[in-house]
Symmetry: C2
Subunit: 89 residues, 2 copies
């Protein structure tokens, strides 16, 4: 069973074979479709590479404005990338 917390600095995010932690694969896919690197998206929306990386990989909770900015860069909508997925821990 899985147990991870939202906190940043408590390394209790028990990965299991690296595919746990509710990754945002739709974001990763949309980025690939645009052939953009994490840094490319980060620069385009005005955040750091680590932030984009964290959104893709972790149980991260970005702000709606950042989500909207990312969607616009990738030509997707909020529903496309952030709706009804893994957010319900």
């Amino acid at each position: 069973m899985i147990l991870y917390l939202h906190k940043r600095y408590c390394c209790l995010s028990t990965k299991i074979r690296g595919d746990t932690l509710s990754k945002n694969l739709r974001l990763k896919s949309a980025r690939a479709a645009k052939d953009m690197s994490q840094k490319g998206v980060a620069d385009a929306v005005g955040v750091t590479r680590q932030t984009i990386n964290a959104i893709e990989n972790g149980d991260y909770n970005p702000t709606i404005n950042l989500c909207i900015a990312i969607c616009k860069v990738l030509d997707r909508t909020l529903n496309d990338i952030f709706w009804e997925d893994d957010q319900n821990e």
Copy 2:
């Protein structure tokens, strides 16, 4: 012309006849359609009344998980309530 900042404690949010500040009227409408008060929605999603009020009225930038929770309570999607509206200041 309008000039408002994102900061909380700088009262520079120059309303003009009360209808500036990019209110989220779709949220207000969806809430009305469910006949729920701000406090009702707040309790349902586990935040304070002020947070819901701020999202409806101000230039507020909530987290995506909160937006998703609000949408679920109101039987709407992210696109319904938060997409392509006033977020581009």
